[in-house]
């Protein structure tokens, strides 16, 4: 508990909290660096994630081929195959339309990551706002918000997503919205609980007594002090959203088939599996697994570093 002073400093008036930003900042990053070096695995995870982010941003510059270019003459080339000149033209092979698997994988990183991050951004913001409001005001507001959360929690998320996407039609915007709205409950519950704990602290009373508005107390006073667990949840959440996106794409409910995605590539690989075109299934799956694994490892580390109380709950 004593470890988590850096982000969740209680018992100080808001003015002091602002001052704090520059004091423990240096020591916070130093502690983070030390903890990372000590545990080792998160560094590997960070490296993998940096690579994925890099590919997502610079994909068009890096990808050897146009991911949608159809070359029927080069259909279903196995990976690592050299041509007559001894060159490896398609490092990870080609699919049933002769599209380059490596290029599609690189472009796929964009969709997986951006869908994951944007959806978590939507769900996290919405959930935090609602949880903060419920915890701060309590009473009827709290009741309504939390009952809504209960209802959503009692409803298997993927079914909800399927229902909405079938009716509205697949597409990046719908997908991101559905995945985002599906996530708000987790954030709302944590934010509410933490807010209720903070609300009773003296610094809030102090802020109130000098006439700070509700909004100021909520966003300048409480929010910075409840961020740590929310950040931890978000890191795991990006991982599970990426998995959900892959499932929905696999069902044909993700982004349109012209956009290369990892889940979509796996869906297409299914028809080729019996003919033993293993590379079509192995590589996109590995890409998803390594990304999600890295996020999970990083989430574990963030939790232990920022908020060890969450151990066993997330």
């Amino acid at each position: 508990m004593a470890e988590k002073t850096s982000l969740a400093v209680p018992a100080a008036p808001p003015e002091v909290i602002r001052l704090q930003e520059d004091v423990p900042e240096a020591s916070f990053w130093r502690r983070a660096r030390h903890s990372l070096l000590r545990t080792r695995w998160p560094i590997l995870a960070l490296l993998i994630l940096s690579l994925v982010v890099f590919l997502a941003i610079f994909g068009p510059q890096i990808a050897p081929k146009d991911p949608n270019r159809i070359t029927l003459a080069a259909r279903l080339k196995p990976p690592f195959e050299r041509n007559a000149q001894g060159e490896m033209v398609y490092i990870l092979g080609t699919d049933s339309l002769g599209r380059d698997v490596l290029s599609r994988l690189i472009y796929g990183a964009r969709i997986s990551l951006s869908v994951g991050i944007v959806a978590v951004g939507i769900g996290g913001t919405l959930g935090t706002l609602l949880g903060l409001t419920a915890g701060y005001f309590g009473g009827r507001v709290d009741d309504v918000i939390m009952r809504l959360a209960d209802i959503q929690l009692a409803f298997p998320f993927i079914l909800l997503a399927i229902m909405v996407l079938v009716v509205l039609g697949a597409g990046v915007l719908n997908l991101v919205l559905v995945l985002g709205i599906g996530q708000w409950v987790t954030y709302a519950r944590i934010a509410r609980g933490e807010t209720m704990a903070q609300r009773e602290k003296e610094y809030i009373e102090a802020a109130r007594s000098i006439g700070a508005s509700h909004a100021r107390i909520m966003f300048r006073g409480i929010l910075p002090n409840i961020l740590a667990p929310l950040i931890v949840i978000a890191s795991f959440n990006v991982a599970s959203v990426i998995l959900a996106e892959a499932s929905l794409s696999f069902l044909g409910l993700g982004v349109p088939p012209t956009v290369p995605t990892w889940g979509g590539m796996l869906a297409e690989s299914r028809d080729q599996l019996l003919a033993n075109r293993w590379w079509l299934a192995v590589f996109p799956g590995l890409a998803i697994m390594l990304t999600v694994l890295s996020l999970n490892i990083l989430g574990d580390w963030l939790r232990d570093f920022l908020d060890p109380r969450l151990r066993g709950t997330v």
């Binding site: 998320f157 399927i162 079938v166 039609g169 796996l266 599996l273 293993w278 192995v282 999970n296 151990r311």
Partner: protein, 325 residues
């Protein structure tokens, strides 16, 4: 217990209301649902006639009440493609899905307990490290990908298990034919293993981690030290004293577990061509047979709500703080 029961029941009713309202409204999300029921060449007059026949011209609340009335009588609507009642489509496929889900749940529960216990009692040893590595991998792969890999290697390369197909167990059992049911068990299991493992992997990994961490927490408590100090065997301390309390957080997620497994069912049945409700959903999605998708979503949700309620009641019996609180 009575008050808790009443509150929990009320909550479930609220949830059912929410779920049905949501499924009902989602049909109207994309605009006029009548357009789903007519073909593209239909004239305006035909569309208006269909709209009237299906009641889509009535106020929304009336439509919702009618929808609820039909649900109560077990009428979940009709398939646009085959014109058969959706409920019939679901019930004929339900046994296969139940077989798969129950099998997966058994795997997820029975394997995760010894694995999690082993990791907790051997904390810091290579056992623990290996188990935790396995668990974090298990939580990080898309389930259908695991399914594809199993098919590719276990099924196609090594030819150990069949890659698709289903041997019925529940169907002959329900028909009263016990001999066939028992005779089918060995072959049915062969077909169940790969899809079952695929669905169970995520929960299995998460449960193992959960049991490990809650076990470690309990083992650090004073009463465990007392039990050891009075000379009880380590086995007794772990099984009778620590494990029982460590199980409590595990029981709470068992209800949600079913939802996880159900979501897995839709994709995994598709991968293994399993003739269950999940594949029905997939096929209905592809044919845009929305009433069937809607019926399945509502049906699964009701099942989910019911099971959650059941689990909470079991939980209340296990934990006196809730029963009496």
């Amino acid at each position: 217990m009575g008050r808790y029961l009443a509150r929990r029941l009320l909550q479930s009713i609220l949830v059912i209301f929410g779920v049905t309202l949501f499924s009902f409204l989602s049909l109207h999300l994309a605009g006029d649902p009548t357009l789903l029921y007519v073909n593209e060449r239909a004239t305006d007059a035909q569309i208006a006639e269909t709209r009237h026949r299906l009641g889509f011209d009535r106020p929304l609340y009336e439509q919702y009440l009618a929808f609820m009335g039909r649900l109560v009588r077990g009428d979940f609507g009709k398939s646009l493609v085959t014109k058969t009642p959706a409920m019939e489509l679901i019930t004929t496929r339900l046994p296969a899905t139940i077989e798969l889900t129950v099998f997966a749940m058994l795997l997820a529960i029975t394997l995760s307990i010894p694995i999690g216990l082993l990791a907790a009692t051997k904390r810091g040893t290579p056992y623990d490290g290996g188990i935790m590595l396995f668990a974090i991998f298990g939580q990080s792969m898309p389930s259908f990908w695991l399914g594809l890999m199993l098919m590719l290697y276990v099924g196609l390369h090594w030819k150990i298990l069949p890659i698709s197909g289903h041997v019925p167990l529940l169907d002959p059992l329900l028909a009263g034919d016990f001999k066939t049911a028992i005779g089918n068990i060995p072959r049915a299991l062969q077909h169940l293993i790969m899809p079952g493992v695929t669905i169970a992997m995520f929960s299995l990994s998460r449960n193992a981690r959960l049991i490990r961490s809650s076990m470690l927490e309990v083992l650090a408590l004073d009463y465990v030290r007392t039990a050891r100090a009075k000379g009880l065997r380590e086995r007794t301390v772990i099984i009778r004293h620590a494990f029982r309390n460590a199980l409590i957080p595990f029981v709470t997620i068992l209800g949600l577990e079913f939802g996880f497994l159900l979501s897995g069912v839709v994709v995994v049945e598709t991968v293994f061509s399993w003739p269950g409700v999940g594949r029905l959903v997939f096929n209905s999605i592809n044919q845009r047979d929305i009433p069937v998708v809607q019926a399945t979503v509502v049906f699964f949700s009701l099942l989910f709500v019911g099971l959650n309620l059941l689990v909470d009641l079991i939980y209340a019996r296990l934990d006196p703080r809730i029963r009496l609180g």
